[in-house]
């Protein structure tokens, strides 16, 4: 009887989940379709294309980091090698040596990423934890060094360039205009996202979570942890390769930096920022990655410093990334307790802006003095004229920063108390519901 009720309740819950699933995936597809119509500039289209590529890469990276607990410092190897094989394939299509629709070139990248994951991943996944991370670092350096040793394949300093308008156009689509390529990327992004999500719902995907949580116990329930890690690594390598192939089509040039440590680091950093503990976290991370790399770097010379600061704060205060912040607040909202928190977010935001403005002004003044001294001490930050040599500017910035920090800390402590109380209330409610069930 109780069993039957349980099953019925589960069935109701899963059918509700079913409906939600359609809404979420439909919404995702809609965003991918509508985005370039809302942001029409060519810069937006380039950025949206890059975001699609980054989404595939960060989700593939998170198959290891979030789902398998494997910290890779060299995962750009698989996207990068995918890029190189894709651009060579593209050039062969242009040269008539290969008959392949251009739209399938990213798959060449995917296969290349997968083949190298089969080869290199076998060594890498023999170990877990810190040795795993060390091996990925070593292999990353190795492949980067190789890329400079074989200029024939990797193109040396100049890289390999290609032209994505190759072969016979299908239905008049040449992929020459950025918008046509964007929709190809969007299609790949959607399909890859769906495939990677499906992976988390399979026996292998679930055992990967088990290996992340407790590799020792996995061995005692019949699974070879090394095999689980290896298979996940290969799957991840395949999707990394697809991202690489899409990148080659997008930029039409591939240089050695695509296999480099900086690129690997960016995948790690933004996957973490987005949130490795939730499937959709890396999607947020990928969008941020492109915004940071394209827009933030335009906005300020100190963008890497800002990025480092943000990353450090996230690791310290929100190790679940932005996705976990969203999910925690959604949980509070689901219990109808979000409203009293909203004014707090407002004032905390104001305090954070004060810190950003004060600290930012000081950082920018230092950069100005170091790099743009020839232009004189006068500069502008967020539209405010500053004098990098003036005591007034420094004092004002310092005061703003200090006031911001003090205010933020006071507010944060009070907010934390309120937050904890609400969490306790939610726990109580959950317990009551359980008891009533």
């Amino acid at each position: 009887m109780a069993m039957a009720e349980n099953v019925a309740a589960t069935a109701v819950a899963s059918s509700r989940n079913m409906n939600w699933r359609w809404v979420i995936w439909g919404g995702y597809a809609l965003v991918l379709i509508v985005a370039p119509l809302l942001w029409r500039s060519s810069l937006s289209h380039t950025m949206l294309s890059q975001m699609g590529i980054a989404i595939v890469a960060c989700l593939a990276y998170n198959m290891l980091l979030g789902q398998g607990g494997m910290l890779s410092f060299g995962h750009a190897v698989y996207s990068g090698l995918g890029s190189f094989f894709a651009i060579h394939a593209l050039n062969m299509v242009s040269g008539g040596q290969l008959t392949l629709p251009v739209s399938l070139v990213p798959l060449v990248g995917g296969l290349a990423g997968m083949v190298f994951a089969v080869l290199l991943g076998y060594v890498t996944t023999k170990k877990a934890g810190t040795p795993f991370a060390m091996i990925t670092l070593g292999i990353g350096e190795l492949v980067f060094a190789m890329s400079l040793m074989f200029p024939g394949f990797f193109g040396g300093e100049g890289g390999i360039s290609g032209n994505r308008v190759a072969g016979k156009p299908l239905f008049g689509i040449t992929f020459g205009p950025q918008i046509e390529l964007y929709y190809l990327i969007a299609l790949y992004t959607f399909v890859c996202t769906a495939a990677m999500f499906a992976f988390t719902r399979t026996p292998l995907g679930r055992m990967l979570n088990a290996v992340r949580d407790n590799p020792e116990r996995v061995e005692f329930i019949g699974y070879d942890t090394q095999f689980v890690r290896y298979f996940a690594f290969i799957a991840s390598g395949f999707f990394m390769g697809i991202a690489g192939g899409l990148g080659a089509m997008n930029f039409e040039i591939v240089t050695a930096e695509v296999v480099g440590a900086a690129r690997s680091g960016a995948y790690l950093l933004f996957t973490f920022l987005g949130g490795a503990t939730f499937f959709f976290g890396p999607i947020i991370g990928a969008v941020l990655m492109v915004l940071a790399l394209v827009l933030l770097s335009e906005l300020t010379l100190a963008w890497l410093l800002w990025l480092g600061l943000i990353f450090t704060f996230m690791v310290m205060y929100a190790p679940g990334g932005i996705a976990s912040l969203i999910m925690m607040n959604l949980r509070v909202a689901a219990f109808g307790k979000l409203k009293p928190l909203l004014p707090w977010y407002l004032v905390l935001g104001v305090a954070a802006l004060m810190i950003l403005a004060g600290g930012g002004a000081m950082i920018e003044m230092v950069y100005h003095l170091q790099l743009n001294q020839a232009l004189g001490p006068q500069m502008k930050f967020l539209g405010v004229p500053l004098n990098a040599h003036g005591v007034g500017s420094w004092a004002a910035a310092a005061l703003l920063l200090l006031a911001g920090i003090v205010l933020f800390e006071i507010l944060r402590r009070r907010f934390a108390r309120l937050w904890n109380r609400i969490q306790e209330e939610i726990e109580d409610t959950v317990r009551q519901r359980e008891a009533a069930a």
């Binding site: 069993m3 499906a198 399979t202 979570n209 088990a210 992340r212 949580d213 116990r217 061995e219 019949g222």
Partner: protein
């Protein structure tokens, strides 16, 4: 002897460096028997379990599961041949729910292996088995709770659940009632008895009440050697066991009662 034993140890020994922990253990357990392994601290009970389950390889000797050699195999290979174990300190998949923990434990045995081309949701037999075990260990109300958020007693129950879920015929339980209160222990022993019906059970246990209540046979392990292996009455009557092990327990109990009398 026509029928192979469910589990047989032949002259098993294990050394760590120069220290010999297990010194030539012989043990033959028939199918369906419940054996309690007892012995003072440091006698090598947990090490023995680690050798049988493949966590360590024995330095010498043979281990046979249903007549097949398993010594030196990896833990997952031994598990696939039908032996499962639990741990003294709960060893769970902390960030997975109760249900997912149990489902992971049944996947290999039901042939799902490393499949990435089929959905767990469609794995009807695995889901049913996981639900069934969840009901058996009375955690059905905690279905979606993460293992790390369970109470201690619930974690112990889940530990047993993961061990028995896979359908192995030989079950090793390493101090299943460790750290439990008296009333919890009594309930838990009942649970263990229920979920291991028809299987061969080896358990390490300190609580003598549990041992004499649960076991068909008792193996007394002292300094890496089996001092006695017989039915409870015979073991209780064995003078060497009394001297080496039960004697010290009795002495402690007497000391306790003297102390409490002196205090009153």
């Amino acid at each position: 002897m026509s029928q192979a034993h469910a589990l047989e140890l032949r002259q098993i020994s294990k050394s760590f460096g120069k220290t010999q922990i297990i010194r030539g253990v012989d043990l033959a357990v028939k199918a369906g028997e419940r054996v309690a392994v007892i012995g003072p601290n440091g006698a090598g009970k947990s090490t023995l379990f680690n050798l049988i389950s493949g966590r360590f390889a024995p330095s010498a000797g043979e281990i046979l599961l249903d007549g097949q050699r398993i010594d030196g195999l990896r833990p997952y290979e031994i598990n696939r041949r039908g032996l499962a174990r639990s741990f003294q300190v709960s060893n769970l998949f902390s960030r997975l729910s109760v249900f997912e923990n149990l489902r992971c434990a049944v996947l290999w045995g039901m042939g799902y292996r490393y499949a990435f081309w089929r959905f767990l949701a469609d794995a009807r037999d695995a889901n049913e088995r996981a639900e069934q075990v969840m009901t058996m260990i009375r955690l059905q109300r905690r279905r979606e709770v993460l293992a790390m958020n369970l109470t201690y007693a619930e974690q112990r129950a889940l530990e047993i659940g993961i061990t028995i879920a896979g359908g192995s015929n030989v079950i090793l339980l390493d101090e299943p009632t460790a750290g439990m209160s008296h009333s919890e222990t009594a309930q838990f022993v009942e649970l263990i008895r229920e979920v291991t019906v028809g299987r061969t059970l080896l358990t390490v246990e300190h609580d003598m009440g549990v041992v004499f209540g649960l076991a068909d046979k008792i193996a007394v392990l002292v300094y890496g050697e089996v001092l006695a292996f017989d039915v409870p009455e015979a073991v209780r009557a064995d003078p060497r066991v009394k001297e080496a092990y039960l004697g010290s327990v009795l002495a402690e109990q007497q000391a306790d009662s003297v102390r409490s009398k002196g205090g009153s």
